[in-house]
Structures are given as C-alpha cells and as structure tokens.
Subunit: 397 residues, 4 copies
C-alpha cells in the first residue's frame, strides 16, 4: 500500500498534480437543459432558456473545477443566427466552443433514417445538415464534428442492412471531403435505441472500419454507455489508441442500457480501468488530441451539481490511473505473477485520491471541494429566481 | 412431420380451431395514440384525439380478427367525466372496457417515486390515484387493476431500498382492501427504465412475494419485455401457473431492453414456448382467468395494422402450441430421448399454421387475412381525412 | 470527506474494528484443489491430495487473516470414512467444519437431472445422497446443508418444466423433514450452466418460493456470480433480509457469467453495495445466522493467496459499509437530495480502509498484510516440496 | 402467404432445390467425441477412439444428408503420423479433410496465454504449433487454417492489454507469411471463456482489423455463440460480406453464453436472418469461398443424430432464406412500408420448408428424413457394440 500522506509531502503527488492540471473535460450544452425518459421529463427550475444561459452554467462548472474550459453544442438545439458572436460570448464567459454535435434524428422526415434512409431526398436533407454543422465549426473555430446516427430499423426485413452501409459510407465521405485541414470527424457508435433491431453504426468495429476508409481526420468516439452487456470498454480504448483511431469519449455511466447516469456513478472501477488505458496508451498527452466530453442526462438530480460531480469523478479516476506504479506492474506482468500484478493495479485504485485533488485545487486557486463551493455560491438560487418565463431548454423530443 | 393439409380435412385442426375460437386478446387504448422514444415521437396522421376514437380503432381490430373484444384504459390518459357512459360507448362499438391501468409516474411529484417516495404526502397522493382507479373499475365493470410502478432510484444511496419495500407493501395492502370481491390486482414487474439503479418491483420474485402476502386477488402480470437478458420467460410462466399466481400478460417483443415491438416480431420461437407453457399449465382455459393483453409501441409502423399483426402473431403461436403432440412429447421425455422430445416440440413450431387460422376466420365469418382486409376497408384513409384538428393522443410524457 | 487519519485516532474506527473483529468468512475445501474451465484444468504444484491437506491450507488462511475459522466440505469430493475424526482433525488445526455441500451432478446417472430427473430411480438415488449429507452434518456438527442443483434441460421440449418443479418440491420436502432442529437447508439458485435452456432453480424467486413453502429452516443462498446481466444483487439481499429468508452467500465475482473470480476483483463497488445492504438489514449481526462463504475457482492464480486476497476484499467492503454515515444518509434521503445522498454513500466507498484493517490485525496479533505474511512464511514452498505423488484434488469433472 | 404446395409443383421450389443442392456444411471431428461442461463430461457409448472412427461417423452424416462432405480436424486432438494417409482414409469414406483447427490452449505452458504470453519462449512454442498446422494443411490439402485463441486475462492489471495486441499481430503475421497461395487464415473471435476479464480477440472488430492488416488471405470466422447478449449477428455477417472479409461460420446456438447447442435450437429465427444476409450478400455463391462449419457440443444428446439434426436445421434456414421474395421485399423497403416489408420477410420464415427438403433429398437419392433413416440403419447399435476398449475421444481437457 502506498502511503500517500507521506508521498504528498515528498513530491510523488506533485508530479501527478502537474499532469492532472493539464486535464481538459468538455461539458455539453444539453446537460444544462431538461432531460428525461420516454415516460416523463421532470422540468427543473432555473434551467437555461437560451444557449447563452447554457454557456453561463458551463462557465460555473469551469469556475469551480478549473478543468472544464469548453462547451459542446448540439445543432439545432443550440441554433443561433450568429455563431461567431456566440463564440465571443463563450470567450467572455471564460470558455470556448468545443465539439459540434449534429442532430439528424428529430425531424419527422427521419422516422426511417437520415443518411441511410431509403429515400434519396431525405438523405440529401440529412447531408445538408451535416455540412451546415461544418459551416458552424468554421464560424465557431471548433475542431471536432461529432456524428451520432440514430439510424437503424425496428423490424427484420424493414430495410436492407447492406444498402444502408453503402448509403452511410457515401454520406460520411461527403462530409469528410468538406472538413478543413484542422478539423476532425468523430464517429460515435451505439448498440441500440432508438432503433430496436438493427443500428447502422452499432459497435466500435463498424465505426472503426468506416474511419479507416475515410482517412486520418476520421476518428472513433467511445460513449461509455453504448455497449452490449459485458463489453470490455477498456479493451476497445486500448485497441483504438494502438490503431491511432481513438478520437473522443462521451462519458456517462450505466447499470443497464444507455442510462446516461453521471460518469463513475455506476462502476467507478471501470472508469479507472478506462483512464488507465488512456494513460498507458498515450491518450492522456495533449498532442494525442483526444476529446474528453461528458454526455449525460441529469433527469432527477440538479444539472450543474451533476456536471461538477461528474468532472470530479473523471479527475479521481485519472488521478488513480496516474498513481499506478507502472514499473512494479510491468515486473509482475513479466513474471506472470497474477496476484501481484492485480495487487499493484488495485493499490492505485484503492487509494483515496481526494487529498491529492484538494491539493491540486488549492494550487490552482480553487476551493478544495468544487460542489460545496458551488452550493455556497448562491448561483443555484439566483438562476431559479431570474430564469422565469420563456421556454426552458430541453432535448426537443 | 405432421401433414397438416390432410389433417385439416380430417378434423385435427377442427379441435384446435374450437380452442382458438375462444381466445381473447385485449388491446390497449394507448397503442392507438402516438408513442416514441426519449429522442423523438413521430406523430402519425389519423391518430385518435379522444378516448372514443381510440375505442373506434380498437373496434376495427376486433372486427377483422374476431378475438380482441376488449380495450384496456390508462388513467389519466383516458380520463373522462362519465365512465359508465364510456362503457356504453364501448359496448355500442362491440367492445367492453378491460383492464384499468394506473399511472403514477407522470406527475412532477413522482420524480423520486410514487408509493415508495420518502415523502408521505406524495405517497398519499399516489395511493389516492390508485383508489380512484378502483372507482373507475366499479363504473366500467372492469375486473382487473394493473399496477406498474416506475418507482426506483438512479444512484446508489439515493434512497433506502428496504424502506421502499415497506412503503410499497403498505400501499398495495390499502389498494387490495379496496377491491371488490370480483376484482383483481395485477402487479407488473420491470427490470429497469425509467429507474436506472434500483427498481422497486424489478422481477417476478418481488411481484410474487407481494402477491402471496396480499392474498388470492393479487396476481402477477408478466410483460414479455421486462426481463434481464437471458431470462427464460416460459419458466416463469410455468412457475407462476403452478403457484396459481399468473394473472396476466403484457405482450410485446424486444431484441435489447423494453423495446415494445410487436409481439412475436423479435423471437417468434420464444412466443411459441410461452404459449406452450400457458396451454400446458391450464392457463388457456377460460376459467383460469388470465388476461392476455398487448402492450406495445408502434413508433414507426401504423397503429391499427400493428395491433392486427400482433393479434395474429399471438394466434399463430397459440395454434402451434395447441398442435404439440403431447402424448408423443411425454413419451420421449419419459425415456430421456432428448432429440426425439425436441423434435416433437419443433414439429409443431415448424408447421405453417396460417392455413388453420384462415380456416378459423372463414368459419367465424371473417376474411382470411385480417390485415389485408383492414387495408382494403378504407378505414385508414378515412381517419386521416376526418381526424383533423384537436390534439392527438399520446403518452403525455 | 471523512478524515480517517484523524478519526482513527479518535475512535470512530475503533467501533468499526470491534464489528470487523466478529466477522466470519468460510472458505471452501474445493478452492484449494485444482479447478479450471471446460477447456483446460491447469494443475498447480503443492495442491492438496486429501481432505486433511485441504484443511491444513484453510488453516493457513485463518492463521493470517483471523476471520476464516471454518471450512466447507463438498460431498463426495471430501468423502471420508470417519467424519467425526475429520471434525477433530479440523479442530486440531484451529478450524471447524462448516457447510456441507451436496453434489448430485457428477454421476453418469445425473445426465438429465438428479432430483428432477424423469426417472424415479435416479431421483431416489439423488435423494439418498442428500439425506446422506445430513448424516454427515450430524457427524461433523455442521449447521448448514447447501443444495445446488445443476438440474435443467438443454433443449426446448426436452422435459416438462412444471413436472420438474413438482419433483423438486418433493425432494426438498423429504430433505427438510430429515433436518435436525438446529440444522438449516440453504437453497442456491443459478441462471444457467451446466444446463443451457432451463434450470430448475434459476433465480432467487424460485428459491424463495420453495423455501417459504418448506418452512423456517429453509433459506436462500445468494451466489454473487449466478445472476443474469444487469441484475441488482443488493436489491435481492435487501429483499431477502426483509423477508427473513437470506441464509448465506457464496462470494465470488464475474465480468460475464459464472466466472468464479476472486470476490471483489471484478466490481468492488458492487461488493460494497451488497455488504452495505447486509449491514443495513441486520444481516451482519451474529444472531442473523448468515453464512458468508467464498466459492471461487483459482484457475490461474495460486490457491491460498487467492483465498487470502478474497477474505481481505470482503473485509474491505465490510469496513466501507460500516463507515457509511447512516444519519447523514437518512437525512439526505428524507429530503430527496439525490446528489447529497449519493455523496454520503460514496464517501464511505472512496475511503481507503486498509489502514483500519491493518490496525485491526495488529490488535488481533496478526501481521498487517496477510498475503505478504503468508508469502514470507515459506508454507507455499513447503507444500510444493512435500506434496509429491498421490492424486491432486480437483473437481472430479 | 405463398402457397408452397402449388409452387412445389410449379417449379419455384425447383430453383431453390438447385441452390440447396450445392450447399456444403462441414462437420467437426470433435463433435463425435465426448464433450461436457467444467462440471462433468458424460461419456457416451460408441464414441470414436481414433481419428479414423471420427471420419467414419462424419461419413454417416454425409451419407444421410448429402451435404456434409468434409470433416474439420483439431490438432493435436486429431494428431496422426501420416496426414496424407489420413486424407486418403477420408477419401475412401467419401469425405475430404476440411479446415485445420489449431489448439494453443491445452498445454500447461499456455496458462497465461499462447501467442500473447508475456514469455517469449511460450510465444515461440505456440507459433511453432501454428506453423505445424500449415504443414498439416499441405499434407491434407486443406485450404483453411482456423485460429481461435483462448488468450486473455482474468484480472485487471494481470497483463498489458496493448502489448498483447502487439504480440498477437506478430504471431499472425508470421503464420500469414507461411500460407501457400491457395490457403487462408480464418481468425475467430469470442467474447469470453476461458478468459474472464480480457480476451485478446474478443469481437469481430478486433478480428477484422487484424485481417485487414494481414491481407486478402486472412478472413474472419463468425462463431454464432461468441457474442455479447443482444449482439445483432446478421449485421456483422452483412458488414463482413460487404467488406470482403467473411471467411467462415462456426455454427451452434445459445441461450446464454457459448452454450454450443445444436445450431437453430435456441433461436431458429436468428439462424434464418443470418442465412438471409449470407444469401443477400452473395456469400452463398460457391466462389464466395465461405466455409459453413458446425462447432457444437453434444453433451447430453447422441453425437451423430445431433450433427444430422444440425445439418438439417441449417438447410431449413437456408431454404427459407432462399424463399424470400426479394422483389416484393425491395419494393416495400423502397416505399418505407415497415409492416409490408416485415411481412414479406416473415412470409418466408413462416413457410414450412420440410416438404421442399424432402423433395430435394428424394431427388438426390436420399431418404426424406435423414435422422429417421440413420436411426433405422443400425449404425448406432453397431458402434456401441464394436467400439469397446481403447480410449474414447474427447476434448483433452
């Protein structure tokens, strides 16, 4: 067992702190709006009514954690007339606009698919939207376009599985050609929902194969809630990093399906294992270009605290991952000492890293406990009082 | 292999037809309204705007299939001022009001639970609703009250698992005491959704234990989409029948979670196995009192055809179940002849029973193919033309 | 965040230590023998050849952990001529004989089932074995008979699901009648394997229903690896405790199916949640009579270290469960503060309890790190050198 | 509904019969030997003691079905001194030697992996075995080398996930270089078992990525029992066919994990959907080069009947797939008519194709019911009588 109290004084945690200090976690605009299940959306008081108010909320998360300096947008949920104006607004709030998320699943036309729809008119419409998202990236200076397709079928025979792949490949190629030299396409996969029989990009293999075909600017986005039961996510992370195809994470957690709970809430050990593979595979280095994003639904808990808690959970998992004694681990692995290797790994996980993070925050001029500090700030009460009238932001479902 | 062409002429199918003729499948009012996922509800033209229009649609399903003479209601989605008037309306349409489904998941108060909420005021409110449902049963002459609780938690520690069972037991007992002598309580279970960590009635064991404690008028409702992956549903059916605690089915099908696809669409063999256990265990007899209900979402397919197809799928599975040569099966089982027993069982499943059902319908004065007959009838076009304006029925989420 | 370093000095951990001191974890004789998968059993040097040598190994686990004073037997793997002699041997090694595990799955006769076999001769033979196990309990002074039935079918139609329940009930009743007044029957359930279509006791509901019918001396045994994906085990624990029907645990862990890994290795957070419900529901009290057993396969890791590590993992989860600030938790739950309640719960989990356990062991006259102490002891080298020749113990598959 | 009785006379089935006639299904040598679970192998009388006896049994399957003309070998289970002699023996029995299956999971050295083992000596040994298998292919004239690696880890931290991929890639490349111009490497994937934390080739994506890197002679083998719950296998089949990377099937079926039941026994509808995608994607054409193999365990049913039943199940699924009215299906898909498209698809599935297959067999000079014919033949009784003494073949576990 590593004695952290002593090591903190000795400088081991200093090295970790320097690495933790550079961490960047992106929060999504939609996490600040109302969300729910198909059964009910429980509205919360104080929820933003405009993109600017979402940015204000995201700025709070950054203010208290110090590691969340960007906000992802979702088009058309965050549609505005002036995107460069929006980027300036974000800047004035201490943030920048991050990933642009496309949405080709909420128009009535997309009932049977968007870019994979059998109807060429609808495919063209969907493609137009994706290209428009690249326009928005140009205006906001965003590097990444995240593509999630809800496309799929509900019934066997409903459509031609293979033809849909052809259509998908065609649309992806058109978008890829439109990318600027410093822009990237992040292709997300998901096992199911809202499609309940086939999904056109159901797993990492499908996303990977398309990205390889497209080229270097196409990368895979791993949403930690989008896998079949039993899937070893850290294996996928390690594999994609080795192949140079890991582009981003959508962090959240789940006990069952795409539950979209706060990351680390359901299986903190899994989050640690994932972050370990990120570190191990070089994905934590700034030049690896991996985008660490949250993508969650705070259906019953308050939004800003939910985001702050999630950012902290990622930080804790990262701190533990950085604590793994890699030399001792490699030695135990080399000699096939199963229990010793597992012990070295678990030693880092079992360590309570909250003192390290408290120290880090103090160094960064922040309060030790971001959530408590936010709650003391009065911001929550203020937005409830001020955000009266108008139309609360939501998923638009 | 049984030669059905010959047997049809010889009378084997006659016996089956007599049993199929007595089948009763209940359709739910909400299947005729709009439904969707948390991502999008795709509205369909011609969807009912009132309970009466839902009854009209259900009457179509019965008119073409001959085996769907009742409609389940969902309160408050189907709230009206005059329930006995509604019952008369149904009667005039050739239907009767079936199961009353309670809804304690769509009021803002129920964010953290209804009858299991830590707040006694909210529990009392939920209980009031349940008791009101029994009032409605009195007015409509319904026999069954179906209780599905979305109650549960999303995060470890959020609430006390055990205390919630105490609260649940208390509410169930209060409702049970309110039942008339010929009324029943059907307790439904579901693994997850909308709760994503614990669900207060997550499995058949929980529902069963509460029903045993309550008494004879409490029975379990099996929703075929509410189980963990790999669960053997026909085992549960057989077990509950043996224990005298199988009260009802909510039929639908799924590839992943609670997908609510048309029953038999995802795994027709499973539906056959379930219906075989129903027949084997005496559950198909009229005096068994088991309610066979559909509970599906037609998110992308038209509603009335979706219900007709589902009714036909249940009929086909039932016909196959009735075809199993039980003597040959028992003989093979007795001697431990694994392959022979499986062969006898599969022989029935592999049989194309559509000729039997066509014959049955002809005997009943119906057209052979209910879906084609409905589509020729012009009803679909008529409701699209007539149901303009007003507010389309939906789930109220 | 609770500052444990300070609290340790202040006495909070003292209270916890007193409770941890009374913990009793039973190790199984078969964990010391060879085990494997259907693909290969990798034999390990030094593995016991006799029951006595298994007892010697179990005594080592107790010697270094101080909380593993009993050993479970598996009949016929541990068959001897003189069971009271065996009990004395155990006593001389500082142990007592714990649970007697029956085995009705390895005789050629049991290919199609034991107590549920369609052949009455085989059922009688299986029942005889179970009754013989009670004789052994009488001789060894064991309190508990653990019944796990591999009985089930591989193919639809292979046997009658319901008739098998009748046969099961009959056999259980016969065994129950044979129990002495201070003996208990523990009925274990398992989703699948070795049966691949139906299993006759597949879930807790089935075990529970049979135990209720049998009477107070019949209780359910929860094997933590025997559930469908997504099953919430701590819910089952809470439910069974509330119903007075939780009799025992078979601890192990899994990522996929019944992987039988070291408990806590796959999901330490789940183990914590389970132990929290045990504590919350009164199951940790000595008079609750719950048997905490390990049931694992150390296929690739050494056996004794695997057991020691597992005992420590249970201790750590228990320590964290005892650390939960129940007053703060109840307050947050009462007010519906989801994030605060989850935070209180996680605070305990995130705490590094290894210092508490080190202190506990020192108080008990043990070394702080049981595994390191065992490894230094030379026992491992000694048994490799001494246990030459003979036939290594295994599963007898 | 298609009226097959009439169509049979009219020639529709004739076209299907011509296509069914060309079908080739390979049976595996190990299916004729004893198999079981980790709990017990139930030996069966009459089981082969030598490779030649396995070939004799496989010849029976071919004799009665007419579509199983080759037998896969498993090295070292089928090790002989003279492989060209063995090929001649097969030829004299009316068979040819099919796929060569390597085995690097049953030597004690492979406890922690074969080609991915951290120990270079063990990796070299494993590679030697794989190269030896190519030698055997040269001698037997086999086209395909099937590689399944049980390699993986049981515990987090046990070994380096990424380094294992490097080692795997190195070994695969060495084997690939050794292949003759007309030989292929088939890389199989499996979610878990016998490894219980990571598996080095866990999913199709991993196998696909390695095969792409290796070149055209490397293809993916899809074992229908090797996926996570909920995985859509027909999607993978369609995807791999589109990418030119589907090399082979290992057919079997499962309700839970890798249950290895008779193919089509657990989900005949899934088998139909898979065969439909094979046909749709051109994989059924002889020049597609796809190997259709059985890979099952007949733990409780007799071996030869189990293989015959499985061959028939694949034939039935294929016949149904060939029956799909592709023009009507395409028309319904084009217009987005979900129910009509599903109906066209289901129409083929619901058809009882046993009369078509009976006709096919008559045309081929076979009896209509292969299983009944085999059972009448007396072969089963003969091998029980004759195969006395010696050592029954098994998995060598």
């Amino acid at each position: 067992m590593r004695d952290l109290d002593e090591e903190t004084a000795m400088g081991v945690s200093t090295g970790i702190n320097q690495r933790l200090r550079t961490q960047r976690i992106e929060t999504p605009s939609w996490a600040y709006g109302n969300s729910g299940t198909r059964f009910k959306v429980f509205a919360q008081p104080g929820v933003p009514r405009t993109v600017e108010e979402k940015i204000d909320d995201a700025a709070q998360v950054h203010a208290f954690t110090g590691v969340a300096p960007s906000i992802a947008l979702h088009i058309p949920w965050d549609k505005v007339d002036d995107y460069s104006g929006l980027a300036k607004y974000a800047e004035s709030a201490g943030l920048r606009i991050g990933t642009i998320n496309s949405n080709v699943f909420q128009d009535d036309d997309y009932k049977l698919g968007s870019v994979t729809n059998p109807d060429p008119r609808i495919r063209a419409k969907a493609l137009d939207h994706l290209l428009e998202c690249v326009d928005i990236m140009d205006a906001t200076g965003s590097r990444d376009l995240k593509l999630w397709f809800s496309d799929g079928t509900n019934y066997p025979g409903q459509d031609d599985i293979r033809a849909r792949q052809d259509r998908l490949a065609e649309a992806l190629a058109a978008v890829y050609r439109r990318l600027g030299p410093h822009q990237r396409m992040l292709l997300e996969y998901k096992l199911f929902e809202p499609a309940f029989y086939t999904t056109d990009v159901p797993d990492w293999g499908t996303a990977y194969a398309h990205c390889v075909e497209l080229g270097e600017q196409a990368q895979v986005c791993v949403d930690t809630g989008h896998h079949a039961p039993g899937t070893n996510i850290e294996f996928i992370v390690a594999f994609l990093l080795r192949a140079g195809k890991l582009g981003a994470f959508d962090f959240n957690s789940r006990f069952y399906a795409d539950d979209d709970l706060m990351v680390g809430a359901a299986d903190p050990f899994q989050l640690f294992r994932i972050m370990y593979e990120v570190v191990r595979g070089g994905g934590y280095e700034a030049d690896a270009g991996i985008a660490f994003m949250l993508d969650q639904c705070h259906n019953i808990e308050p939004k800003i605290p939910g985001q702050i808690r999630s950012v902290c959970n990622v930080q804790e998992a990262t701190a533990k991952a950085l604590l793994v004694d890699s030399e001792a681990l490699a030695a135990a692995q080399r000699t096939g000492d199963v229990i010793a290797a597992n012990d070295v790994f678990m030693d880092a996980y079992k360590t309570d890293v909250r003192p390290i993070l408290a120290e880090l925050r103090t160094e960064m001029g922040l309060e030790e406990d971001p959530l408590a500090a936010y709650q003391r700030s009065g911001y929550a009460e203020r937005i409830v009082a001020e955000r009266v009238g108008g139309h609360q932001a939501g998923w638009g479902a």
